[in-house]
């Protein structure tokens, strides 16, 4: 590793613009003649839209248009779709209810848009919206899973009788039941995986600009995957053909999954821009974000785990109900199925697993992928089960896990995934050492003398990242391929531009991707620019989610770099009259081994572009592209241990220590990797003790601002102790596994396991707020 190559904790290249206020987020952009959109949203969870009267609003000077769902339908703008097909047990396809971008006749959640006001300023648009009269006929609503599946429940969609989207299963039911029938011990648990609101700090925003002469749209938007947005807007929503639509995702202020999806507001902004022949900007306020950004999690599950007399696991049986909200969001169907049940084997050798998942419509905001997407739910279930089992079987929780760890790789689980590499004992050992496990009993005793309840909780998580290869995800129902593309442009003076289909919205790609180039070509990272987030600049890409930018995105760069290197070596070989095999790259120079002959990269590039003296038949230029499709998912894994102290008098939990030992394979920039883990842990801990999304029975979202929804703040969290163990991923050229979601996947189980250990009661729902903990202690 060089000073700036792979493995170096280089400070980030992109930081200067952010720390000086020069970041360029979508809402910072102003176009000439720009109008502002304000959406009129349903105050009811379920209602018929009877009429929309905009006459008064249109009288206000500066109001350009009021548009509603009927016109959207007339203009043949398509309904929103879910792009991952899941079939029920009986082979029938999932039941997708129609989701128009502006509801023409029925609204199914509070916040669903029915009309939009376009005006010269944001304030004017808001004022005018007050003058639009929408009359509704209220219908009965269901706000939670149990109400939605109760007999006689109000029905949301005619397409989905009983409000069931699908009833899906994975695994061998008969073999699993047989294992349970002969098991020595069975431990079961029922739990809720609480609904979360992603809350990226930058609210969603879109600016649509229609060019009437060229019949061409430009969309600036807060997207994690601008090419996918363009594809979906073109192919399914009938906005414009792809070559007439440019999507730009400039600086994006966090995503966590919520900015993967194509939302009604972007569609309407594009459509409205053409209608009014002016640019249209919409920026969400925070309550709108609560009411419209896809939420995460929201499962009710029962898990049962069976052991033989030696405490070896013989089977796992799970039944989960997943709340989808009022409509299917873009990838919602995959989250509680192929991203969830496929990870239920955890880090353990489990011979048979059977999981059933019923997906249910309710009159709430649509639910989709949120940091971890399915894998936190799986990890929480299996790790709560293991900890509960250890307590019931009266064995050490670390030892019960160790006894059942998978130790040889590759390992085929009974639920599709084939783990390629790992060392689960190593990460557990590292975490045990960091927390001083041996000293815990004494610490607990000392705390007890001080009137405090001390507890320790484990979480040994595994996740499947990369969300690739394309063939595999295609066979599981994905509507798109999930490879990544890259282009390496070496300019005539030797500077380098990397065009990538990955998108950075906090992950630091402008630094880490440049480090990969520095490692390969020996050039300083200041000589390398990373270009991303613009469909006109980057040919194609699948974007950033599922911890895939390193494993898939960087691998595509490596593949393109290999092609550049191969061509460069041919040029050098021609110029220096040496064999290509003898040429090595060192510090930005192509050297002939065993001689003092060398050629600087800049000279190679210049030779490629002047083309005065190239090998016979070689095309000029030094620019190569690659599409990379991995051979397997990657499998980051680790061990988290949390130590807490609970005040029995108030129910308040304080963190004593939180240790995380992760195996992400090779680390490109350890500083950035650790930052990703910190952020993930905060979200996992937030889910465990703070964040609860509350709907009342009528479907009103009670927690719709930062005053009501408890976001983790600095004084809610501890500092974290991180360590890394390494098994390289054999599935990609860098040996990387991905680190973006691990913290959010592993943390919540560790926290709840610690609190339940402290208080001596197993039944404790998330978020484990002081009142819930107090109630658990005092019955």
């Amino acid at each position: 590793m060089g000073l700036e190559g792979i493995g170096a904790s280089v400070v980030r290249k992109e930081d200067k613009r952010f720390i000086t206020g020069k970041g360029r987020y979508t809402d910072d952009i102003r176009l000439h003649g720009m109008t502002h959109a304000h959406f009129i949203r349903s105050p009811h969870a379920h209602a018929k839209v009877k009429s929309i009267d905009s006459a008064e609003a249109m009288k206000i000077p500066g109001v350009v248009a009021v548009l509603a769902g009927k016109e959207l339908v007339e203009d043949k703008i398509g309904n929103l779709i879910c792009g991952w097909m899941v079939h029920s047990k009986d082979g029938t396809p999932m039941k997708m209810g129609a989701f128009p971008a502006l509801a023409p006749d029925t609204v199914r959640f509070v916040g669903q848009a029915v009309a939009v006001v376009i005006a010269d300023s944001k304030n004017l648009a808001r004022d005018a919206a007050e003058k639009v009269t929408v009359t509704y006929k209220e219908l009965p609503a269901v706000a939670d899973i149990r109400s939605a599946i109760a007999p006689g429940a109000p029905q949301l969609h005619p397409e989905a009788p009983g409000n069931v989207v699908y009833d899906w299963a994975l695994g061998d039911e008969a073999a699993t039941n047989a294992a349970f029938a002969t098991a020595a011990n069975v431990v079961s648990i029922e739990l809720t995986n609480n609904r979360l609101v992603p809350n990226a700090m930058e609210p969603r925003s879109a600016i649509a600009d229609y060019d009437t002469a060229e019949e061409h749209f430009t969309l600036y938007t807060t997207s994690q995957n601008p090419h996918v947005a363009r594809l979906v807007l073109s192919a399914f929503y009938n906005i414009a053909p792809e070559h007439k639509l440019r999507v730009i995702a400039p600086d994006v202020g966090g995503g966590f999954g919520s900015k993967i999806f194509i939302y009604p507001e972007e569609m309407v902004a594009l459509w409205a821009s053409k209608k009014v022949s002016r640019p249209v900007k919409w920026t969400s306020d925070r309550t709108e974000a609560f009411l419209t950004d896809a939420h995460g999690r929201d499962h009710l599950s029962k898990g049962e785990i069976a052991f033989d007399k030696d405490n070896k696991i013989v089977g796992l049986r799970v039944k989960t109900h997943a709340n989808f909200g009022a409509y299917m969001s873009l990838f919602s169907s995959s989250v509680p199925t192929y991203l969830y049940a496929t990870l239920l084997s955890g880090q353990y050798e489990i011979p048979v697993i059977y999981c059933e998942v019923d997906a249910v419509y309710t009159n709430t905001v649509p639910v989709d992928a949120y940091r971890g997407a399915g894998r936190p739910e799986a990890s929480f279930l299996i790790e709560r089960l293991m900890e509960t089992a250890a307590r019931k079987l009266k064995v050490d929780p670390a030892e019960l896990r160790r006894k059942n760890f998978i130790t040889s790789f590759p390992h085929q689980t009974p639920v599709i995934m084939a783990y390629d590499a790992g060392d689960f004992n190593a990460s557990l050992d590292s975490a045990l050492k960091a927390i001083d496990y041996a000293g815990f009993a004494a610490r607990k005793e000392k705390a007890k003398k001080e009137g405090k309840l001390r507890g320790l909780g484990f979480s040994c998580y595994i996740e499947a990242c990369g969300i690739a290869p394309s063939k595999a995800v295609g066979s599981l129902g994905a509507g798109v391929g999930l490879w990544e593309s890259a282009e390496v442009r070496v300019n005539p003076v030797g500077t380098i531009e990397i065009l990538t289909g990955s998108h950075s919205h906090g992950q630091g790609h402008e630094t880490t991707f440049a480090q990969v180039v520095a490692e390969r070509l020996g050039v300083p990272i200041s000589q390398v620019s990373i270009v991303h987030g613009d469909t006109d600049k980057v040919q194609f890409g699948m974007g950033t989610y599922g911890s895939r930018s390193a494993a898939v995105g960087m691998s595509a760069i490596v593949k393109a770099l290999e092609k550049v290197e191969a061509k460069a070596k041919k040029i050098v070989s021609h110029h220096l009259e040496a064999s290509e095999d003898d040429i090595i790259i060192e510090d930005g120079n192509f050297k002939v081994t065993g001689t003092d002959k060398s050629m600087a990269l800049a000279n190679v590039a210049l030779a490629a572009y002047t083309a005065h003296n190239l090998p016979p038949g070689m095309e000029p230029g030094l620019k190569e592209g690659a599409f990379y499709d991995p051979t397997n998912f990657t499998f980051p894994a680790g061990a988290y241990i949390c130590e807490v102290e609970v005040d029995a008098g108030t129910g308040k939990t304080s963190f004593v220590n939180f240790v995380a030992a992760d195996d992400f394979g090779r680390l490109i920039n350890p500083m950035i990797v650790e930052g990703q883990v910190h952020g993930g842990l905060a979200q996992g801990i937030g889910q465990a003790i703070l964040e609860g999304t509350v709907y009342d029975k009528s479907g009103q979202l009670i927690t719709a601002s930062f005053m009501d929804y408890s976001m983790p703040r600095a004084d809610d969290l501890p500092s974290f102790k991180l360590s890394h163990t390494t098994t390289l991923c054999p599935g990609n050229p860098l040996g990387v596994k991905g680190c973006g979601e691990a913290g959010a996947i592993g943390a919540s189980a560790a926290v709840i396991n610690a609190i339940t250990d402290a208080i001596g009661h197993e039944r404790l729902e998330m978020p484990a707020t002081p009142d819930r903990v107090w109630a658990a202690i005092h019955g």
Partner: protein, 161 residues
Amino acid sequence: MPAVKLTVNGKAVSGDVEDRTLLVQFLRDTLGLTGTHVGCDTSQCGACVVHIDGRAVKSCTVLVGQANDANVTTIEGIARGDELHPMQAAFRDNHGLQCGFCTPGMIMSAIDIVKRHGGSLDEATVRQELEGNICRCTGYHNIVKSVLDAAGRMKVSQAAE
């Protein structure tokens, strides 16, 4: 429309504004100083923090009229030319930011925290003082490190002056 005049980052500025114009709207929309962000509209997240007459204030909760004649400093106004403010440098060096959206408000709040507490800052105090600034990316670990690091740097630079 009433007229306002104030000093922003050392420059005298003025404009005719609607009564309801918030300071953050004036900064972003009228002056084009888009480094100050709006993250929540309810004074919870702190992405909009600026300094008014040297004190950290949430600019989404102040009418620009209330800042008439005041001296406002935004994130764009704290570096001296190419020389970063020690707090900016500390955020970069300690990886105290990821997506960058909360960062301007964090930095403006943190400068105020250090000024008020001087050399007596510790982790617990920093965490408590950052109550009004929400970050969704970093888990605060490196933000706390950044603020403590900057506190040391600011002490040194003050001593040098």
